[in-house]
Symmetry: C2
């Protein structure tokens, strides 16, 4: 539901605290910094690039008990097992992906691919996701993401699988590749593009500045990307995240994550209907401190946006490619 005129409404509601702009490079009390001790008593190595460890408070564990579901059709439950990992992007707390060197971003991508390969060998779904900013429930400013691998296909990928499969069966072409071709031709929702990648505010965007990032060739999973495509991905990620930060001159909060063909037992099946892609869901709407509230009508009826995807894409597209911090720094 798009109500382009709603931005005219004055805002007198909740205003968020702007993100912390002065994060120290090293904080002796931050459990994610190199050399520091975490909640479980383990000491981090003096890592120099990325660093992966098991989440000290995992939502999914390898040894979860079976809830012994009843027989009633309305009360069905199953054991959910898996692992939760945390991955630091960089030894420094005061950098973010758009401010990191391109080679450093490539290292992050390589690590994502490695974890997908390793955990995907057995688990059907490996969710790589980044919660950035306190507004997105992220409790630590150190640049990091999480990787939750599960014994089941969660709801969102199940739905995504179903829709991509239905389209493929009807049109003998992956839905997202057809979609990418259309967007490249139409241009109006394109934010950044390079020979291998495309980032658009999707036609179906619900969050004000939501982005869909996807390769322009048919790729099922992140670990299938070539060296060239990884470098190209680092380039487009730096560009789109720089635009995000430049929108309100603030370290832009968001949740992002990768969706690709399922793994584990699904590795043996035909997944040609799948196309690798990342979703970016940023909450800000009006300024660095006023977000879109996905509440009442959105929760109970359907999502409603206050500006069109084309307006959002144009705004992002026209922002400088140089980061506001480096411009005056």
């Amino acid at each position: 539901l798009v109500s382009a005129h709603r931005m005219k409404r004055p805002w007198t509601g909740q205003v968020e605290k702007p993100p912390e702009e002065c994060v120290p490079r090293y904080d002796p009390y931050n459990p994610l910094c190199p050399g520091n001790t975490r909640a479980n008593g383990e000491k981090n190595p003096e890592y120099k690039s990325t660093f992966v460890f098991e989440n000290d408070f995992p939502a999914i564990q390898p040894d979860s008990p079976d809830p012994a579901s009843g027989q009633h059709p309305l009360f069905q439950s199953k054991a959910a097992t898996g692992v939760c990992k945390v991955m630091c992007f960089h030894p420094w707390s005061d950098v973010t992906l758009p401010l990191m060197k391109k080679e450093e971003v490539v290292t992050v991508i390589d690590k994502w691919a490695e974890l997908m390969e390793e955990l995907g060998a057995t688990y059907p779904w490996v969710q790589i996701f980044e919660n950035k900013g306190a507004m997105m429930g992220c409790s630590n400013p150190h640049p990091h993401c999480q990787v939750w691998a599960s014994s089941f296909l969660p709801n969102e990928p199940t739905l995504s699988d179903r829709c991509q499969k239905a389209f493929y069966e009807k049109y003998q072409e992956p839905l997202l590749l057809q979609y990418a071709k259309q967007e490249v031709a139409k241009k109006e929702r394109v934010v950044v593009m390079n020979p291998h990648w495309l980032a658009v505010v999707p036609y179906w965007a619900t969050w004000p500045y939501q982005l869909l990032l996807l390769p322009r060739r048919h790729v099922l999973r992140i670990n299938e990307l070539t060296t060239e495509e990884r470098e190209s991905l680092a380039d487009i990620m730096k560009r789109l995240l720089t635009k995000y930060d430049n929108l309100f001159n603030v370290s832009f909060p968001y949740s992002m994550g990768w969706h690709g063909a399922p793994t584990g037992p699904y590795l043996k099946e035909d997944n040609s209907h799948w196309q690798l892609h990342a979703h970016y869901y940023p909450p800000l709407l009006r300024s660095a401190t006023v977000k879109k509230f996905m509440v009442g009508y959105e929760m109970l009826a359907m999502e409603q946006r206050d500006l069109t995807p084309e307006q959002a894409a144009e705004k992002l597209r026209n922002l400088p490619d140089e980061h506001y911090k480096s411009r005056h720094g």
Copy 2:
């Protein structure tokens, strides 16, 4: 996805501003107060109970232009028309539903029924919803709700219709009536109950203290409630909202809304599979200032909760029925 052990994790993330506890009964600058002038220059009457008016910044309008959808299957859109109304619950800004007299709550219910009858005569869906608290994007402390009537069935009711219909076709019984019977027998998720109504933390709850409120007899729409059932609803609403406020000794934020059988053209169809119900979605998890963040994994994979529905129900059930404000007031 339920991870009952996750509440053990320490919280060092974002802390919300606690809700304003000292709201003046009358504020000359509040556009919702009796006698005040709103953004569009209209003057509110000196209303004494409820007061309904057209939203000055409506998301859906009666005369929305047709977006002229293309022919491509991936780019489909349609005109969305409708009306958005605002309904004040009470002339005073310093009361909330649990603090209002029972008769005053009955007046609110009667008005809901009246609007459903009136707008439902032509519109297929009439969404009555309340966003309460700044945390839920509500920009005005005056007790009020919204009513958005639309020319289409939104996503959530479409899904709800489909699931209730599938169950009804299979078991010849409304899904939610069978569900209510099971919950009354099991007791473990029941929070409050009276002869006509039941409130449970549903088996499928995603928000920590989510509630489902429904009549115990088969009722399709809110305007079909008898006088006795409306009084009984006022009673249970006051009780459950008092428990909400007593949980963290704070005016509990939430989004709530009513779902019943669709209206307009659907009035001519058989809707026996439907059962009227209200959803309460409150964001708080740990305290008056620490909410549950539905972010990364929740947005990209599936919703994850940090305590079981049974733990939440027990906590709410054991709270006093007397409001913390009246106890020491």
